[in-house]
């Protein structure tokens, strides 16, 4: 997160994205990506974790269906950065970045953040414009418990890309 924010020029960003595994995901997309993402360009409901989704509150599957219908989500071009363990579920930093173009007529129009296990899985969405220059957004969010976090981006043409990460929310050791 640090390097992509302090050196936001094109070259270092491309390197960053490469480092973050965009290049390799693209190469492997056809062959092995289905083992990493059960989506592989299928409906959002087959994303990892969707089956065991929220016991209480709104079901993430319904939320995803309400937002995206049965459109497919490509597990590429988006990088979601989260801590592996959140020291405190009340403040979990998440950062979404993407190498998708941001030009007039061809840009990311919206970034969504969902947390499966929150009572309401919808956390935030951000509308972007070509003037944003970069399809990226960072936010600090609340997580009720350990859960899958989903970042989904939507282009102006209605194409969806996404990335997921599991964040383990601290189980307090002390206290009653």
């Amino acid at each position: 997160m640090k390097e992509m924010q302090t050196q936001p020029n094109a070259v270092s960003r491309r390197e960053f994205l490469k480092k973050a595994g965009f290049a390799s995901v693209a190469v492997m997309a056809v062959s092995t990506v289905s083992s990493m993402f059960s989506t592989g360009g299928r409906s959002p409901l087959s994303w990892p974790g969707a089956q065991e989704a929220a016991a209480a509150g709104r079901d993430v599957r319904e939320v995803l269906r309400a937002n995206f219908g049965d459109r497919t989500i490509q597990p590429s071009h988006v990088m979601l950065k989260t801590p592996i363990i959140a020291e405190n579920g009340a403040v979990v930093p998440v950062a979404i970045d993407s190498d998708l173009p941001m030009e007039a007529g061809n840009y990311v129009k919206k970034i969504y953040i969902f947390v499966d296990q929150n009572a309401d899985p919808f956390i935030a969405s951000t509308d972007l414009t070509p003037a944003s220059g970069r399809a990226a957004y960072a936010l600090r969010i609340k997580m009720r418990k350990t859960s899958l976090v989903r970042a989904i981006v939507e282009t102006n043409k209605g194409v969806l890309y996404g990335d997921t990460k599991t964040v383990k929310v601290t189980i307090g050791g002390c206290g009653g």
């Binding site: 383990k168 189980i171 307090g172 050791g173 002390c174 206290g175 009653g176």
Partner: protein, 127 residues
């Protein structure tokens, strides 16, 4: 009390299960046979034994690493050492004066019944 609740519908039992365990420390104790399942509940409940804060034992998410793995610990105890195992939980200072282990019995964090239940669970780890 918990016997009564067993006869209630399953939903009610789930709801009141935690309360039942909690209230053990409040109501006068009627001697019961030690129960491993109740012991495990004591060990995983934060407001009771909270053993998982420090000890690893089966099927606990992210246990602490302050104390030893309880399966390994139990290897040192045979069937005849039940009283010693109980004493470790009741007041481990008997064995290690400078231990971090809270004196669960001596300081009334748990009831005698709850300590017995925990011992029962610990011995179930040996099987």
């Amino acid at each position: 009390m918990s016997v009564k609740e067993r006869n209630r519908p399953a939903v009610a039992a789930t709801v009141f299960g935690t309360l039942a365990v909690l209230s053990m420390s409040l109501v006068p104790q009627v001697a019961q046979a030690a129960d491993a399942a109740r012991g495990r509940k004591v060990m995983t409940t934060k407001s009771l034994g909270n053993c998982a804060a420090c000890h690893k034992f089966p099927n606990v998410e992210s246990p602490g690493d302050i104390g030893p793995d309880l399966i390994e610990s139990m290897e040192s105890f045979g069937p005849e050492d039940r009283a010693a195992v109980r004493q470790w939980i009741w007041d481990a200072r008997e064995f290690m004066p400078h231990t971090i282990m809270p004196p669960f019995g001596a300081n009334k964090i748990l009831t005698p019944q709850q300590v017995d239940d925990v011992v029962e669970y610990l011995y179930s780890l040996k099987r």
